[in-house]
Amino acid sequence: MSDRNGRSAASSQPEPLLEARNVTKRFGAVRALDDVSLTLHGREVLALLGDNGAGKSTLIKIMSGVHQPDEGELLMDSAAIALRSPTDARAVGIETVYQDLGLFDNLSVAANFYAGRETVRPGWLGSFGFLRERSMSRHITELLDLLEVRVPHASAPVGLMSGGQRQGIAVARAAAFASRVVILDEPTAALGVREAGNVLDLVKRFAERDVAVILISHNLEHVTQVADRAVILRQGRKVGEVVPSPENHDLIVSRIVGGREGPAPGLATPAGSYTDSK
């Protein structure tokens, strides 16, 4: 309640949907994340950039409930949330598509969609756990149509489908259940040009559904196409935040690899959007 009031009372800066505040995560002696803060606003596509080992995966695993931060906290609608498991994250409306897609090759498209949250029939059949196959498969067919994801058939096993179709299914599954945030880990890495384009279109359509997106990608071109903002990580620290555009690719790359400390003098960024967090 107070959240909503707070939001309407807020001035020009709307209150963030999801926020990580001073998050630190250690694995043994390694500091995978060091005092990282980040905000995600409603309907926003936020890209996470960084080299391998920069801490991107650790950060999204914290936000999807796989890891728990050693220090710092997560807030949703300005209220602290504790995500002890992926189930907790899903319960607050955060869905994650991991790089391995998390699909079940042996199961149908419909079974994949509903894995872990199958609906059962009403009445006594339901108390024995009997599945509502038909209504589940109808929902899926509608949803796939809506998202323009083309698959041979909702009852066909996912293992027989192409990389692009599988990616489409994984993203559509997240879209189907995410009410607030979708986290995508390298959704275009294994795809051809056309298939990647389809996935990026899907990403853009999340905003229409009032869902914010956190996107990890190594492909700056893709990031520029869809992301409103990008956060750059290096060696577990946040080293910059930028509105990605074709003009500042070089700057972003230098930030990612750490070739230059501090903001480059004289390198104007569009709309003055470059802010150095250090």
């Binding site: 498991s85 189930t87 079940f104 042996n106 894995a115 756990g129 692009g164």
Partner: protein
Amino acid sequence: MGVGRVLVVEQASQLAERVRHRAPWLSRESGSETWLTVVRAALQLGPVLVLGLLWLVLSLLSPVFFTQQNMTNLGVQAAIVAVLAIGQLVVIVTRGIDLSVGSTLALATVTGALAYDTALLSSGFGVIATMIATGAAVGLVNGVIFVKGRIPHAFIVTLATLYAARGLALVLSGGASKPGMPPAVQTAGGGFVGDIPVPVIIVAGLGVLASVFLTRTRWGRWIFATGGNPDAASRAGIPVGRVLISAYVISGIAAGVAGVMTAGRTDSGFPTAGDLAELDAIAAAIIGGASLFGGRGNVANAIVGALILATIRNGLNLLDVNPFWQLVVIGGVILVAVQLDVLRTRIEEKLRGRAAA
């Protein structure tokens, strides 16, 4: 005229598009895909086709084979392995294996005999319940140690209980069989309803039950999901640990039921019964197309696998083939079945390649 032709062409292509959309298997482009789909369906039906072929050939070679008496024998011989194979299938679907079922079967016959000697449990129901509970208990031990002990593979856990359950059966029975079983148990092992042997009816009933459970219920779906991709299953909120434990409990229950049938047939608690039965059960499930990679297999085909094994033994006996050769033949059939599993995987990879193109 030109416009008219264009319109016709356009309509035709729209129609083709609609056909492709509704019935992709009808379109010309997917001709080789259709072929692969057919091959895949043949592999699915493979076990049934093999069984049919075996029966056909044996009927031609031996006048005795397709008689009612021989088919009844064959059904009874296959029944115990079939029940074990149903349980084994559930475990194999989760990427596991249960080596303990033969010993569990023996232990169940012995606890059944002990129950028959105990006033409180001496009814037919009490004895049968004791045997099934014994199976479930061994399964629970297997599952809990495997999951909670974070043992890398169920092979070792169930190998341990293979020894332990056999030892326990021998200890509890003093190493000798204990004759005498209540009528209900005898019926389960050797009775008839009309012309149909009761063990065959039990297999059919359990088969339907297991099949409905695996394909129509949520827990059954979770068993397949866990076998297909354990990491994704746990991220999807599926209680993977409990699902795995349940698979071993189901296999244990199946071993208990097989124990009831064995005790009924021999009218005794029989501590050396079911020796190597676990290998027959595994072979039946694999011959029936279950994949050791997990996530694949169906109950009907596992039962067909048990029938194929029994048919090979029965048929070679009728044809007077040296029993030592039977073992060689069964070994060959298992190799072929595993090879078909690999072949199926490759065909599916091919299908995936086409989908990508």
